[in-house]
């Protein structure tokens, strides 16, 4: 029961600025859960997390508990984690294997596709439809839509809307590139998860990833320090991975401008392409050999040459192909968000790559990491700065109208442009108001 009209919501997003209530009003947050997170494709998990029949993984879609499970026929299912009897969550562990799903309250049992196997005390208790007696639905309900791209499972709470792959559009290539970096073209989630709580709105994080202006300022304390120590200790010799990972955050403005940003339908975007803060990582010979053996030198070079920095699949998912890690956005409240980081093993690649990805996540994504606290702090400061009447509007003027169409069907701009923000809020407005594309975010 929103007190906002579509008209009012539309007026809160202008071409060059957005109203502060979008980050501070709990009612707008609830509407976002319903209209953006309730309509878009939301990342659930990766198929490699549930290789065997009965393997399951529990998570949330738009704050609603769901289950990703492997059915005995090899297909995966995305089910609401809600017993058909009285509504209890049927699986509570983060992950595991369940031959059957058994509810802990009254013991109803379900097959791995959610269909009901056993009703405690027998179904007879429910009479039968002939008796004209109304019948309860006895099955666990699947989410309206679920689909997988290169093993990445997304689901949607909306029954209609674009298919996953066309919806991913140009960001699909980021998934491909990450998977192609495996000599076998296969990814495997490994090494656990980092869960990082933020006391700020989810959009700050989603915007930050392709904010090419902040790194050299906000991350000075860690990156500059690493840079200097690298110089000091290793000169022009090869610095250890930690230095290679931390230093580029302090690259100069030019570098970030050159990385460039690219925006697409539905609010998606990526930064980098030819170069990124990951492109200078030292080569790992055995790995290159394995790749060339698998793809030949040319295709290998091609794969390696794609250096996207952050890919944002709006609103829930971000990916770093070059370092094989993803971050998943879990909104909790208007001013609370959990970011989950997952690491992938490139099948057929040497162990060293995984170790580097793990190291990267420890250094950048853990709750005790060296870089994230300064992002976290800045989100916090905006969350509170926006409480002021100083200005109701947040600027997205930067390089307004200075972006160009790109050959992927989107638009590109220099790194520091606000284009990505403008594009995200274009999608926000479309989802929230149902305008052009009936809430598909186009």
């Amino acid at each position: 029961m929103s007190s906002y009209t579509d008209q009012q919501l539309a007026e809160m997003v202008r071409d060059e600025c957005v109203h502060r209530s979008l980050y501070t009003d709990p009612e707008i947050f609830e509407l976002e859960m319903e209209r953006i997170w309730g309509r878009a494709w939301i990342y659930v998990g990766h198929e490699s997390q549930i290789p065997e029949p009965g393997d399951y993984f529990t998570t949330e879609v738009a704050r609603q508990p769901v289950i990703l499970i492997r059915h005995r026929d090899g297909s995966f299912k995305v089910l609401f984690n809600r017993c058909a009897h009285k509504g209890s969550k049927v699986l509570e562990n983060p992950s595991g294997n369940a031959r059957f799903i058994r509810c802990g309250y009254h013991g109803w049992i379900y097959h791995t596709d959610g269909t009901c196997r056993t009703v405690t005390g027998g179904k007879a208790a429910y009479g039968n439809s002939d008796s004209g007696c109304p019948q309860p639905d006895l099955d666990l309900k699947p989410l309206p839509r679920a689909a997988s791209y290169r093993g990445f499972v997304f689901a949607s709470l909306a029954g209609d809307g674009p298919e996953l792959e066309p919806w991913l559009g140009a960001t699909a290539a980021s998934f491909d590139n990450m998977a192609d970096r495996s000599p076998e073209g296969e990814l495997e989630v490994t090494g656990g998860v980092l869960r990082y709580r933020h006391d700020s709105n989810w959009k700050f994080f989603v915007e930050n990833l392709n904010d090419m202006m902040h790194a050299m300022i906000a991350h000075q304390s860690s990156a500059q320090t690493a840079q200097r120590m690298g110089q000091q200790l290793f000169g022009d010799g090869q610095a250890p991975a930690a230095i290679q990972i931390l230093s580029p955050f302090a690259s100069d403005a030019n570098f970030f401008e050159k990385m460039g940003i690219h925006a697409f339908d539905h609010g998606h975007s990526y930064s980098g392409g030819k170069i990124s803060i990951h492109s200078a990582y030292s080569e790992i010979p055995e790995y290159t050999e394995a790749m060339e053996a698998a793809y030949g030198p040319e295709r290998t070079r091609e794969i390696f040459s794609l250096n996207r920095h952050n890919t944002v699949v709006y609103p829930s998912f971000t990916l770093k192909g070059a370092i094989q890690t993803i971050r998943v956005v879990k909104p909790v409240a208007v001013d609370e968000t959990i970011i989950e980081s997952w690491t992938f093993r490139l099948k057929g690649a040497p162990d060293e790559l995984l170790r580097r990805s793990i190291l990267y996540c420890n250094l950048i994504n853990s709750s005790a990491n060296l870089v994230g606290p300064d992002d976290h702090e800045n989100y916090h400061r905006i969350q509170h700065g926006l409480k002021t009447q100083g200005d109701d509007w947040i600027s997205m003027h930067r390089y307004l109208d200075a972006d160009e169409p790109n050959d992927e069907g989107g638009r590109s701009a220099t790194g520091s442009s606000d284009m990505v923000f403008r594009n995200q809020f274009k999608a926000w407005k479309a989802y929230m108001t149902g305008a052009n594309g009936a809430g598909t975010g186009r």
């Binding site: 490994t190 090494g191 656990g192 998860v193 980092l194 869960r195 990082y196 709580r197 933020h198 006391d199 300022i217 906000a218 000075q220 304390s221 860690s222 500059q224 320090t225 690493a226 120590m229 200790l233 250890p240 930690a242 230095i243 931390l246 959990i338 980081s341 690491t343 162990d351 995984l354 170790r355 793990i358 190291l359 996540c361 420890n362 250094l363 994504n365 853990s366 709750s367 005790a368 060296l370 994230g372 606290p373 300064d374 976290h376 702090e377 800045n378 400061r381």
Partner: protein
């Protein structure tokens, strides 16, 4: 540099181990970072696993896994003028208890010490409380010790945690 170890070593007194751990805790609370870092051997590692019973810091993510280089970077960062998350600065109290000697090698004098930790981190009107089990692998350094490995297993290591800015 740890001095050449004598032929055989008696098991260290718990009192001595306690005082060593208390001193470590105090250096952290008083933010005497360099002295704290100097407690470690050159190859000393500091580890805060991200999951219970985590076997391995290399193939599984951790909240922290730091060698001398990373400790040096973090410590230098603490005094960097432009770290938003350090203004105002975080503060800590480390409470060390239940100190037990798990093992001791009479030949090298190396030993493994187990303890319980409650660490309270405070910043800007909010206080976070961390509790866990610590394992210190110590090697002889003259009549004192150096830390070859410190592991802190937080009871809530699998929780969705806010910033942990100070060493546990």
């Amino acid at each position: 540099m740890s001095k050449p170890a004598p032929q055989t070593h008696e098991a260290p007194k718990l009192r001595v181990l306690e005082q060593f751990l208390f001193r470590e805790a105090r250096l952290l609370d008083e933010q005497r970072w360099d002295e704290w870092a100097a407690l470690f051997t050159e190859d000393g590692t500091y580890w805060v696993p991200a999951t219970h019973g985590q076997p391995d810091p290399l193939h599984h993510v951790s909240l922290m896994y730091e060698d001398a280089l990373l400790r040096a970077i973090r410590i230098k960062r603490y005094s960097h003028p432009n770290a938003p998350s350090l203004q105002p600065p975080p503060r800590s109290v480390h409470v060390i208890s239940n100190v037990m000697l798990d093992s001791h090698d009479p030949e090298t004098g190396a030993c493994t010490v187990n303890s319980r930790l409650v660490m309270v981190e405070y910043r800007r009107d909010s206080q976070a409380i961390y509790a866990g089990a610590c394992t210190h692998e110590l090697v002889r350094d003259g009549d004192s010790f150096k830390i070859r490995h410190k592991k802190v297993e937080l009871v809530n290591c699998e929780g969705a945690l806010e910033n942990i800015q100070l060493y546990l």
